[in-house]
Symmetry: D3
Subunit: 69 residues, 6 copies
């Protein structure tokens, strides 16, 4: 099975907080590896991103999709 997403992490669930409609699931990443970001070339040039740069990466929790085998 193959997925059309650049970022695939192995993780272990640490907590599940169920709300009425939405739930919040936390997990510990157990095998990170390389990640990827797609952004406008304009932003890359504004940030002047180049190999070796130390950055912070932000991901809204709503964009994280869990899959269970």
């Amino acid at each position: 099975m193959k997925y059309g997403a650049r970022n695939k992490l192995k993780a272990t669930v640490t907590s599940v907080n169920k709300g009425d409609i939405m739930s919040l699931v936390k997990f510990k990443v157990t095998q990170p590896g390389e990640m990827a970001s797609v952004l406008t070339t304009e932003s890359v040039e504004d940030l002047d991103l180049k190999p070796g740069d130390e950055i912070m990466v932000f991901i809204k929790a709503i964009h994280v999709l869990p899959v269970k085998e």
Copy 2:
């Protein structure tokens, strides 16, 4: 400075591939820590997610926002 996103990772850029409009940036996560996902409670119940579960997490590269200090 504080951000309204659950997932904040420290990373080092490994490659930058500039296209005409969009670019693809890869990085190595140097400090992962805990992550979080928000999804419908229905999905949590379908997946039967609970602490200790081993999962895979997918994130489209388009949802990853780099910040540089």
Copy 3:
């Protein structure tokens, strides 16, 4: 009126579940037609996507925008 989105479906609402902040709306697609996905070219090559392939497509419910005339 024209919209900057590739995927436009006609649908009939089947249920509405209102929560405190977020709600979950279900609907039956009554006129599907062709759909489209944008992803990194790297992912397309990893998946080796080509015409005729049978695939599954996933869309988080949060990315689905209803419009009512």
Copy 4:
């Protein structure tokens, strides 16, 4: 294998258009079924959504994730 997404469709790829960084993949949905949208309860009330309503649904192509078995 189970996925944390409400919307899962079976589809057949009809075309693949590879760009430098991003690609556009089109497909025909061969088995639609019920779909779901999560939105703010305020929006549900603005739209006055209720069972039986005929709506249009929009999804940006960037939010559609293909999976291949």
Copy 5:
């Protein structure tokens, strides 16, 4: 016509830059008004958001959907 999105702005297109698959469109907001953000309650508490706070808001260009009448 009514839309299931909290943020609706009137704008004038200032430039269109067409790429192979994706394009970048810029516009000047001519009538802003009130906007809204949905985030986890945990993030709201981390940020300690309250009426009167001055904030910055970030939106990736990929999440902005233009509609033309």
Copy 6:
């Protein structure tokens, strides 16, 4: 500090509505400036977008990320 997002607005929080898992924050944009949208070139051509066009722009509240200094 620099961000990989095209759209950065200054705003003042006007209300905070905390739910169990998700919260809704409203704000008034105090300094709008230019904004940007990335969409498929096909959509740009369907909409026939060109400088001077008056458009509406829609953004789901879930895609708006607040940052506080």
